[in-house]
Symmetry: C2
Subunit: 339 residues, 2 copies
């Protein structure tokens, strides 16, 4: 291992976005005198009659949720994107805008209000993966949908307004910024090397064994070399797959296991229901071949030192670049010990 | 005014970064059931003996602050960047890193622990601007410093660990991501049009008068067309200046006035000491001419609807692109009413 990376300030390059992260390992010991997050380790009931996601309850718009048994998907009642929205274009010198349409869905992972993915078995999580595949397949056929973002905000500190286990799917007609960057970087690499950027990266990481959290037959869970968040992690399929539809039944179960293991380790880390945003980046559903795409799922958890001390991405991070203190390699060591 | 922009989902282009923001005006009315921020409207004393920034107090490293009368600058005791850090390079296939050195400073805006910029007069703020100029001038001469980021994190919700009025200056040898983007966009425009991108944008905004918060002889304060944060604002000098050293005495006073007016309006908006990160983007201090640069200061405040409800940039925002509900034009109207 290169020990300079553990001792001195440096920046690391994110091969997927083309951007840099500033790493300051010597700063990990600075005392924290700032804001602490509120935590509630209070156990939730399995059913909450005021929850708009529990089975059989009425949502704000008056619709009644079915008595669902595992996964339940519906169109977001306050969707940021709508499919029937007016189409227009602003091209007025330096003012540039264009209408954006799409479909936003909510996906309940379980009828059990008290659970999170960390409490679900690989085969229960597999049902969530099946639902993601089903939604992706339907949306992908829609000629107005060219990109589908599957994500989860977990925990109040991540802006999640309801603790019931759920995620979202926002789909739209154009590629959002982050996807556009990853599209470009993967395409350039593929054109030059005729192989998958992420596949080649995975091979290198498996050789080094310095940032691997765990590996099963089909997936690798690792802390990427360029991770931004203190305990950021990425799940990558070993086979190059452009999107989640390419997974067979065994793949989806192995993927469920990977999600299960990392979310359980997270909860153990600070003995709390670990907050994060997670998301799947995969090939656009446009008319291109997208052979350069290698889908992956990332977890961006904000906690830094305990259940109440998070990393703030503010000031320098907003105006300059992301910055971290604890290195990716230290984070991996801590996570591996919890498996 | 284009009313489509107030009614339908769309994306707007940020001419300075080349990236997009998703705007969903119809979503502004969605109820908020998520986390509320703690606020303390409790008056602070003018002196706090436990504060490591108050005049005469001892800092964590044992140094004693002088009995300063207006502005006080010192090197950050827990600097993310150090000038004597080892130089190295990692170029190992897909693992790319390089050492980064720099100098980090803390700048106290006033010895009065109870104040913020919003409580200071334009001429008191001018003294802060003089200190920024002085630091910039010294750092710019350092051959290892090629970029200087001046910023402030205000409020506990913005990761500020001490309420004493202060900001920071992080300077380093390479351009951070955000600056690099703005450098490219301004350079391309300048090469093509032989004029300042931001200057031409300012002219267009002054013509339209739809997003201007205020204007004095030398500065315009506006909500940029592509603003991300609910009440984001930008201060731009009318004359094209590459960096803050180009300001004369009258300019610095007018700049102090602009800062004073916007920070006072912010505090009035939700009747609270308004949290934000602010920062100055200006020309690199490398060996280039940087004639394309037009410096500006931005305020990124997180509050959305009240002193306790903030906008969360999570899930979709982290994986896709920034997203906002209330439009820039609505935000301007609300801010103008408070002047
Ligand atoms: O240096 P401070 O104020 O202790 O720390 C704050 O600002 C820094 C620069 O924006 C961030 O890296 C930290 O996460 C934040 O808590
Ligand atoms: O849709 P929700 O869960 O109410 O809202 C949350 O997730 C959205 C998508 O990441 C964000 O835009 C909101 O700021 C956040 O509070």
């Amino acid at each position: 291992m290169n020990t300079d990376l553990q001792d001195y300030s440096h920046k690391r390059f994110n091969i997927l976005t083309g951007e840099w992260v500033l790493v300051s390992p010597h700063r990990a010991k600075r005392p924290w005198q700032g804001q602490n997050e509120a935590i509630s380790n209070e156990a939730r009931p399995t059913y909450d009659k005021t929850c708009y996601l529990c089975a059989g309850n009425t949502r704000i718009n008056g619709e009644i949720n079915p008595k669902y048994k595992d996964v339940f998907v519906f169109t977001n009642d306050f969707a940021a994107l709508q499919s029937d929205s007016k189409s227009f274009n602003v091209n007025d010198r330096l003012l540039l805008a264009q209408s954006e349409t799409g479909i936003c869905k909510v996906i309940c992972f379980s009828p059990d209000h008290s659970k999170s993915l960390a409490h679900m078995s690989p085969s229960e999580i597999q049902k969530v993966v099946f639902a993601w595949q089903k939604e992706y397949a339907v949306l992908a056929k829609n000629p107005n949908i060219n990109y589908i973002q599957i994500f989860e905000n977990k925990g109040a500190v991540m802006g999640c307004s309801n603790p019931h286990p759920h995620g979202q799917i926002w789909s739209q007609s154009t590629l959002p910024n982050e996807v556009d960057k990853k599209n470009t970087q993967q395409l350039n690499y593929y054109n030059k090397n005729n192989s998958s950027l992420l596949g080649d990266y995975l091979a290198q990481e498996l050789e080094k064994q310095e940032r691997i959290i765990l590996e099963n037959d089909e997936f690798v869970v690792l802390v990427p070399f360029w991770a931004i968040w203190p305990f950021e992690a990425m799940i990558v399929p070993k086979k190059q797959q452009a999107n989640i539809l390419e997974m067979n039944d065994n793949d989806t179960l192995q993927y469920g296991e990977a999600i299960s293991v990392i979310t359980k380790a997270y909860d153990k880390l600070f003995n709390t229901s670990f907050p994060y945003s997670s998301g799947i980046h995969q090939a656009p559903t446009d008319s291109n071949e997208n052979k350069h795409w290698h889908w992956h799922m990332s977890f961006y958890p904000p906690l830094l030192r305990s259940a109440t001390v998070k990393k703030f991405m503010v000031g320098y991070e907003m105006f300059g670049s992301p910055q971290r203190d604890i290195t990716a390699e230290t984070a991996v060591k801590m996570l591996r010990e919890l498996l």
